[in-house]
């Protein structure tokens, strides 16, 4: 695949989910991403394009970052398809194409969900929180003291750059790997040890989250230490109660959002009575 074609697919991949729906998911997005490649590939067989587009408009759903592996692999398969003249072989390759689309989208979705939404997103959140607390940007108090703009943006940029550097790298490389992959390498997915990466990311996440809990607790209590023993104790008890409630509601599968809304209404009504 030429560089500019790859760049074109890469740019278009940012619109994969524009027409997300509950029946065919990202089908229009897939057709939109692959359109310049198909137009180029079928430039001598333009009459076949409607049929080809029909295939691309069937159900497709995967993770937006990992989808680039699918684009690369489908482009490679499509190149094989366009060369076939014999009807029987063509039908066989179409079935292969369909199978690859289905199986690869499921695999990449599973990896992407665990890696990007389940590990990287919370990890970058923790990184930003550490940076902010280290720079004295205190978000734990009701009325936080103002801080320089630069301090605020360092934390924000830390999360933004960390996430996007990895996501964009995987997106760009995925296109190339998926297209160039040899048979038997699971369309290039075996190039990375995804399970190991996710395992270490999660392990790091647990330690960082525990570290954040102790760091935030220290931060929450440090200004009152020695000033008012009562306030330190009250705050420490409050933190312990909040964490305990969180663990209980997580066991009961109550979303945090509903827990907060319920707490707000119940506490406010109870205090008015």
């Amino acid at each position: 695949m030429r560089f500019f074609m790859r760049l074109n697919l890469f740019w278009r991949s940012f619109f994969l989910q524009t027409n997300w729906n509950y029946i065919k998911y990202q089908n229009v997005g897939l057709a939109f991403v692959m359109w310049p490649f198909l137009k180029h590939l079928y430039r001598r067989h333009k009459t076949e394009l409607p049929q080809v587009m029909q295939r691309y408009l069937e159900t497709f759903n995967t993770h937006p970052v990992m989808a680039s592996f699918c684009f690369g692999a489908l482009a490679r398969q499509e190149r094989k398809l366009v060369k076939k003249q014999n009807l029987e072989i063509l039908e066989e390759h179409r079935n292969d194409w369909e199978g690859i689309k289905r199986s690869l989208s499921i695999t990449t979705a599973s990896i992407g969900d665990r890696l990007f939404w389940g590990s990287l997103k919370p990890l970058t959140l923790l990184a930003a929180l550490f940076v902010w607390l280290a720079l004295d940007v205190n978000f734990l108090e009701i009325e936080p003291a103002p801080q320089p703009k630069a301090y605020v943006f360092i934390g924000m940029l830390c999360a933004f750059v960390l996430f996007n550097a990895i996501a964009l790298f995987v997106k760009w490389k995925g296109l190339q790997i998926g297209y160039m992959a040899k048979d038997g390498s699971c369309f290039g997915l075996t190039k990375f040890d995804w399970n190991q990466t996710i395992y270490y990311a999660k392990k790091m996440g647990i330690w960082l989250a525990i570290g954040m809990f102790f760091f935030a607790t220290y931060y929450f209590l440090k200004d009152f230490n020695g000033v008012s023993d009562f306030q330190v104790k009250t705050r420490a008890i409050a933190v312990a109660v909040f964490v305990l409630i969180s663990f209980i509601t997580r066991k009961l599968r109550v979303p945090n959002t509903y827990l907060y809304l319920a707490a707000f209404v119940v506490f406010t009504v109870a205090s008015c009575l």
Binding site: P122, L125, F139, P144, V152, F242, N256, L259, F267, S271
Partner: protein
């Protein structure tokens, strides 16, 4: 309503596109949208706090498959707009969270009914493949417009209620609101610990 709040809502509806519809550079995350939107209202620390609280509160819901988490941008925009109208952040945030949940419902409904419109477009695209650009651009424009209307509506409806509550709630109730507000980061951090559980190697 001041002009800066209108600008805030307009920027929020553009940031909302980043959630699913375009780019996904994570500009729509709470910790990024919050401080960005607060540049418009001027209270940067309020932006950081709202952003962090939004992200920690919604940390237990990920956009897996068809799951739609509450909209972080809507939560930040409504909270900061109300805060800009002199509502304390601990009350404004409640309305922000309610708006975010309602926004997710609206988005779910849109996704559900979009297929009827898309079926017609699919037929047209199969006949003329070069039309593939149109449903994409129409969707982007329609979603940005829907976000603008919804966020504006949420701010218009919730601002008089929030202002009334701020004035008429007894001191004890204000304390209760502060208590539930200050609990959010701790609940969120505890959620993060359990969300990193190692299920399989």
């Amino acid at each position: 309503m001041t002009s800066s709040i209108f600008v805030l809502i307009a920027v929020a509806c553009l940031l909302e596109l980043d959630t699913t519809y375009a780019f996904q550079f994570t500009l729509s995350r709470g910790i990024i949208a919050g401080p960005l939107l607060s540049l418009i209202t001027g209270d940067l620390m309020a932006g950081v706090q709202v952003g962090v609280f939004t992200e920690l509160l919604f940390a237990d819901v990920n956009p897996l498959g068809g799951i739609l988490p509450p909209s972080a941008v809507t939560c930040c925009a409504v909270s900061l707009a109300l805060h800009g109208l002199c509502v304390p952040l601990y009350i404004a945030f409640f309305f922000g969270v309610v708006s975010a949940v309602l926004f997710a419902y609206a988005e779910r409904t849109l996704r559900k009914y979009r297929i009827r419109w898309l079926v017609k477009w699919e037929e047209r695209i199969i006949q003329t493949p070069s039309l593939i650009y149109r449903p994409v651009f129409i969707s982007l424009a329609a979603y940005a417009f829907m976000s603008l209307i919804l966020i504006l509506l949420f701010v218009l409806i919730s601002s008089p209620v929030a202002l009334w509550l701020t004035e008429h709630l007894p001191e004890k109730a204000h304390l209760a609101c502060k208590f539930s507000f200050i609990a959010i980061p701790w609940i969120g951090i505890a959620t993060l610990i359990s969300s990193f559980r190692l299920k399989a190697r």
